[in-house]
């Protein structure tokens, strides 16, 4: 691949460069498989996710039930596929929601000098809370629904993005191409989107990947603690919460969703690390 790129510029084709890194490629491949499994759940799943069968409760993994059955005789593999849909959707929605808040706060603090101090102090105050405690408090206040979990986690993770966006905005604001746009009389909102936001997409992408991973973990944690999504909706977290009661007799009920979380989070971290190495000029080693 072209190795002439200077740190300031990026090759347009990020994906092919990412695939050139073995660890990131493995992460990306895992993510594709997991996402496909979630999307195609109704086709792949051998049973209906809610199909009860008291006769076959707590069966260990077998050819009939690949990952065994749970306390109500539901197929764990089927439920895991459907759980992936919820868990990934929640994670993705958290990324989108926290990005919107984080970008607005970060651009405001970074671009408008007078607003920097108030907005930055607000962000600092939000970051002073431990993530999961703040999320629990917010869900407790808002009510335990999937939407509220997304809102709560979005608020929890927005400050990280706000900081990253602010830092990049502070640099870009002073660059001559922003000055050139001002000299042309380009309106400030257009400058913010076309010149500033477009050039902070790299750090947003990296942070977004890590937030995705954290959100999946946090959602599982909230569900496990019983302050998250209602236990009748399969998510990896609710499955573990239920399976915990049968841990010594039927460990598979919580082991498989647990493994799904580990693999998904690992895959996201690998991709995130790969992106960071590619996009952060300070870490360039292989040029």
């Amino acid at each position: 691949m072209a190795a002439i790129a200077t740190p300031l510029q990026q090759e347009p084709n990020l994906l092919s460069r990412l695939l050139g890194r073995p660890t990131a490629a493995v992460g990306l491949a895992l993510l594709v498989v997991i996402a496909l499994a979630a999307i195609l759940a109704p086709i792949i799943a051998p049973y209906a996710p809610t199909k009860l069968s008291i006769a076959s409760r707590l069966h260990p993994p077998s050819l009939e039930h690949l990952f065994g059955t749970d306390d109500l005789g539901r197929d764990v593999f089927t439920r895991m596929l459907y759980a992936a849909r919820t868990s990934l959707s929640v994670g993705f929605a958290v990324v989108v929601f926290s990005s919107v808040i984080g970008i607005v706060l970060g651009l405001t603090a970074g671009f408008f000098r007078k607003l920097d101090t108030p907005v930055s102090r607000l962000v600092d105050a939000m970051m002073a809370f431990p993530d999961i405690l703040l999320a629990i408090a917010l869900v407790a206040a808002l009510g335990a629904t999937a939407v509220n979990v997304v809102v709560a986690l979005g608020i929890v993770y927005a400050p990280r993005l706000a900081r990253v966006v602010r830092a990049s905005t502070l640099v870009i604001r002073e660059l001559p191409y922003v000055e050139a746009a001002r000299a042309l009389g380009v309106p400030t909102p257009v400058i913010l989107v076309r010149h500033v936001l477009r050039n902070v997409t790299s750090p947003i992408l990296v942070q977004g990947t890590f937030i995705f991973a954290n959100a999946i973990l946090a959602e599982a944690g909230l569900s496990f603690l019983g302050v998250g999504i209602s236990p009748d909706i399969p998510t990896w977290g609710t499955m573990i919460a239920v399976g915990r009661q049968y841990m010594d007799q039927a460990g598979w009920i919580m082991m498989f969703p647990g493994a799904a979380i580990v693999i998904t989070v690992l895959a996201l971290q690998l991709v995130g690390d790969g992106l960071r190495d590619l996009l952060d000029p300070r870490l360039v080693k292989d040029i």
Binding site: Q9, Y177, A180, A183, L184, G185
Partner: protein, 331 residues
């Protein structure tokens, strides 16, 4: 200080831009003040090129940006076609922006790396008015041709170009809105020497063809000599000497101008030059010397230099100098 009604045979009497007592101070730590530009006045006649010269830290770039209100000036006036730019509201200024453009020093950070050349030039076209479809493409091709690039460069990204080519794109962007006045902020100092001449020739050529009025900021007098009709020499935020290039170059009257000229390389190895070395560094603009700001490094300074700030006084032929001893020396 603009009162001297000297007959100038070059162009019409009224200047396109008249900068009067421009001052820009920045707040520094502990309530102190950076005197970046102090009481700078000069005129730019329509169709002419004025060079603004000085070392780094002399305030020349700040002066250029303040005139365009890319930074807000502290006080002073900038009469552009008789309208004081500094008195305009932000909204009124927006309408004026296209009349005054700027070309930047760094050809790398002056182009958004995420935009294709067509989008970079397109943004400038949008500022002027709407051009769509074929007309837009034609105008972009025309602009590229004007600066010596090819129309198919429009679909490329900035990183696919060399420094000189990028500077040409920057010039095309400034020209896209058909400005009356362009500030060129050290447009060649970041380029390779071989490319510098090409870009200088392009600027000189465009100036003649389009009848542009230029304020050419540089730290190097030899670059300015080639292009400029008039020169303004700045030091520590103040004007030391200004006047028609031929006068300033042939008979510099300020010790600072002499020192600058002495450091410029002369392409003749047999010519012996009397060097007037400048000692020390440029003082801090937070705490500038009393009286003449140049006195701490001036080889000819006397005690009286510390007492008063020398006014920029006319000495004939449009030549002005800010030195109390300019007529006491036998040159």
């Amino acid at each position: 200080m603009i009162a001297d009604a000297e007959t100038n045979d070059t162009t019409q009497a009224a200047p396109l831009l008249s900068v009067q007592a421009l001052t820009k101070r920045f707040p520094a730590r502990d309530g102190r003040v950076v005197h970046a530009v102090e009481d700078v006045s000069f005129e730019v006649k329509r169709g002419s090129t004025v060079g603004l010269v000085g070392e780094s830290g002399s305030g020349k770039t700040t002066a250029g940006r303040a005139i365009l209100r890319l930074i807000e000036p502290t006080s002073g006036k900038a009469l552009f076609n008789g309208v004081d730019l500094f008195s305009l509201s932000a909204r009124e200024m927006r309408a004026y922006r296209q009349k005054l453009q700027i070309v930047f020093q760094d050809p790398f950070s002056s182009l958004n790396p995420r935009l294709r050349v067509s989008a970079i030039l397109g943004e400038a076209l949008d500022a002027r008015g709407y051009l769509r479809g074929k007309a837009r493409q034609d105008r972009i091709a025309e602009l590229l041709a004007l600066v010596g690039l090819s129309p198919d460069h429009a679909s490329r990204y900035p990183h696919e170009f060399s420094g000189g080519q990028r500077q040409r794109i920057g010039i095309a962007r400034a020209l896209a809105v058909e400005p009356e006045f362009i500030v060129a902020d050290e447009p060649v100092s970041a380029l390779d020497v071989s490319v510098q001449a090409q870009v200088l020739n392009l600027i000189g050529d465009l100036q003649k063809r389009l009848g542009l009025t230029l304020l050419f900021i540089a730290h190097d007098l030899s670059v300015v000599e080639y292009l400029c009709d008039e020169v303004v020499v700045m030091y520590l935020g103040r004007v030391m000497e200004r006047g028609p290039s031929r006068l300033v170059y042939a008979a510099p009257r300020h010790p600072y101008t002499r020192a600058l000229l002495a450091t410029a390389p002369v392409p003749d190895p047999t010519r012996v030059r009397v060097r007037v070395p400048l000692l020390g560094d440029i003082p801090s603009p937070i705490d500038p010397p009393s009286g003449c700001v140049f006195r701490t490094r001036c080889p000819e300074a006397i005690e009286a230099c510390a007492a008063v700030i020398p006014p920029v006084s006319p000495i004939g032929g449009g030549h002005h100098v800010a030195c109390i001893r300019h007529d006491q020396r036998n040159d």
